[in-house]
Symmetry: C2
Amino acid sequence: MTDDLDLRAFIRDIPDFPKPGIVFKDITPLLLDARAYDHAVGALAEYARPLDVDVVLAAEARGFIVGGALARELGAGFAPARKRGKLPSETISAEYVLEYATDVLELHADALAGGARVLVHDDLLATGGTTRATIELIERLGGTVVGCAYLIELAFLGGRRSLGGYDVHALVAYDEE
Amino acid sequence: MTDDLDLRAFIRDIPDFPKPGIVFKDITPLLLDARAYDHAVGALAEYARPLDVDVVLAAEARGFIVGGALARELGAGFAPARKRGKLPSETISAEYVLEYATDVLELHADALAGGARVLVHDDLLATGGTTRATIELIERLGGTVVGCAYLIELAFLGGRRSLGGYDVHALVAYDEE
């Protein structure tokens, strides 16, 4: 019924954010439109349903929104990966590289039962750095990454290639900046 | 079917987080358990459905998780309120008071069509400071706050009283620290 809905129409370019020269893909119009939002979550769930997901795992903060909805649609649990110091119980952590610095992502040490089947979600796949750190944390806890699901892929940044061996799915791909 | 499920069993106390003397209510076990998570979102939706919600609005970051799921369950859109500098387009902002400092919450200036019926969500109602700032932003944009829905209420902190006049609902209330 909504299969003809073009999600691109609900993603807007914000030039020079967060800094000069960067064009930011803003998904807030997509989230705000009930029909587009429902469609996006449904389409990611359609991809993920055959993967038999136990837990959807997303990094803060934008990934929490669709990640939370996707977990419920799949009948799965949800686990948050957060920046340093935000998770209250015992954590494990992984560093990842940003353009000019490194950052740290943490996961609760008891976030995954051994062997849990985990779907990684984020709103955007860029270079893949956040996802690689997330996968490292999941695998250190004995979880199995069954797929990586995004609203948007910036294909020209090569993130998918850097995740070789993992199943990657994005609803909307941009081939150039 | 899951009406007998006790959500309290999935909320754990973390002493001395984020600082000595504070007992933090950790909802990550609730999120991780597919049945408890589904139950919690369903129970909040049951409260909110008669309110005819157009948009669920939540402040970052924990509020995004259940907020995202709740919006979809209600057939509503979702709008994020974020800390300073995180939203990419034009914003309006409100200050709110923390224990020893003030912080700023921002909302996209085009986040609400005039007259939108808005449900405020957060994981936890404490003193109500974040919710009051959120309501201020919604009303400045011409939205109508139809209710405020939480997983947890720390009733001894008086947040509900400070939101007098607004409809407040929480799934689990703690009467003492």
